[in-house]
Amino acid sequence: MELLARILHISPQTFWMIAKVIIVFAGPLTLAAILTWVERRGSAMIQDRIGPNRALLFGRWRLLGLPQLAADGIKFFMKEDLVAEEANNTLFWLAPLMAFVPAMMGFAVIPFGRDFTEAGRTYSLSLLDPGNGMGMLYPMAIGAVAVYGILTASWSSNNKWSILGGMRASAQMVSYEIGMSLAVIAIFMTTGGYDPHQIVAAQAKTWNVFPHIFGFLVFFTCMFAETNRLPFDFAEGESEIVAGFHTEYGSMKFALLQLSEYVHMVTAAALIVTLYFGGWQIPGMAHPPVLLSIGAFVVKWVFFCWVFIWIRWTIPRFRFDQLMFLGWKVMLPLSMGNLLVHAYFMHRWG
């Protein structure tokens, strides 16, 4: 660390910050890109198909269909960039960015490995160091902002299907945010703080998923609603409202909207891992080596990304009234009950 920083003529803190920015930016983005491949191949395998395997790298290597990613990217760049005539041009161009940027920002507080000390300095493996005062509130807030991208996209398209998708997305986001927040508050309570590093450290003995099993179920379900993934992808119900909020989008703008969905998924998986599955903790190992802790985090993280895909191809889409019923009448009381029960136990024994 010191050596590398000296070569680049910057202080170790700056060097580490730059390195972390690159990791935090490139990591989720790469995983999101790979997830599009996993989604297609995995869904194919689940449905007894084969999936895309025809794209060749340099016309020679098939690589299990991975070159499809490059082919899609090139295709999106080459396509004609159409904007609907009646659309609001400025917002139409801005909306994919408004969806994409918050999706990328959410990952900043997630600790993806154990802190390590080198030459008297402690380096923490999350973009924002512990004790920044925002803690877990930050990804929650950013996650709530993400709906504006979808809403802007839908409204600026000036299309009935789009606006329906946007309305659904916003209604869904509002109703599920409450249940989700209450589930997370129970964790803040038992942890005694809302910093992700604290939350991860508090899970050294038992992962939060065991005492907070109902909270986990609520949070997990709400994450599907937050990321607009099936079974809650009402914002883009293909069979109902064409393609929902991105009906009018094409080429790279569509790709950005689509990618932001995957980045959301990646961030949601990281949040689930941090809050409920002990982050980088390895069961039975009090102080794992740094690389091993990163490995543990990545394994859990990728697994939950896969669970998102797995569930998508298992459960059909809900009806919208069922979604609202589930959000207000099941998830909210459940997470509230979870909160109260934990509060009672803490009051009694804690």
């Binding site: 995995g42 689940i46 007894d48 084969i50 797995w310 298992t314 459960i315």
Partner: protein, 187 residues
């Protein structure tokens, strides 16, 4: 008639929704793993341009005009197939053998032109059924496509040679000079 839809009453296990979802996920995972660990040759998908499927024996694919051993066409230009064809894609022009008919016992007619418009053909096999001489067969070739319309107009020689390579027969481009009388006709 009205259909009375009975509302399905779920028991409490199903209403929790968690256990049924877990069961569903188990099923999808089973399919996933099964497909993942099946060799690609054993999967359901036939990866078409690389592997080809052998059609079933009764398959109605590209036509062949059958010929005798010496290469003479079996078709006698009776127009039965053209009549039977629901898509009206067969065009026949009859031709006479002339003197050979009477002196050497050859069939009366043969087609000078036998055209099938493959763009119109619906591969119903009516021509095959109508033919009194078993001269037209619909066989196994299902890959007919081309870049222009003209190459989908199959003439007499195209149709006689469609399966020549596959059957190990010589390609012929003209009616052989008749030397031997035909065997007695059954009809």
């Amino acid at each position: 008639m009205a259909v009375i839809v009975k509302k399905v009453e779920l028991n409490w296990v199903d209403r929790t929704y968690v256990i049924p979802v877990a069961m569903g996920m188990f099923i999808t995972m089973k399919h996933f793993l099964k497909q993942l660990f099946t060799r690609s040759r054993k999967r359901f998908t036939v990866q078409y341009p690389d592997w080809k499927r052998e059609p079933a024996p009764g398959y109605r694919g590209l036509h062949e005009l059958k010929r005798f051993e010496d290469g003479a066409i079996k078709c006698v230009a009776c127009f039965m197939c053209a009549e039977a064809c629901p898509a009206r894609c067969i065009t026949i022009e009859a031709d006479e053998f002339g003197d050979l008919n009477r002196t050497q016992g050859f069939q009366e007619k043969r087609p000078a032109v036998f055209k099938i418009d493959m763009l119109r053909c619906i591969y119903c096999g009516m021509c095959e059924e109508a033919c009194p001489k078993d001269a037209i067969w619909l066989r196994s070739d299902y890959e007919q496509a081309s870049y222009d319309r003209l190459s989908m107009q199959f003439g007499k020689w195209d149709l006689m040679n469609t399966y020549a390579e596959r059957d190990g027969k010589a390609r012929i481009t003209q009616d052989p000079t008749p030397t031997v009388p035909r065997p007695p006709l059954q009809s």
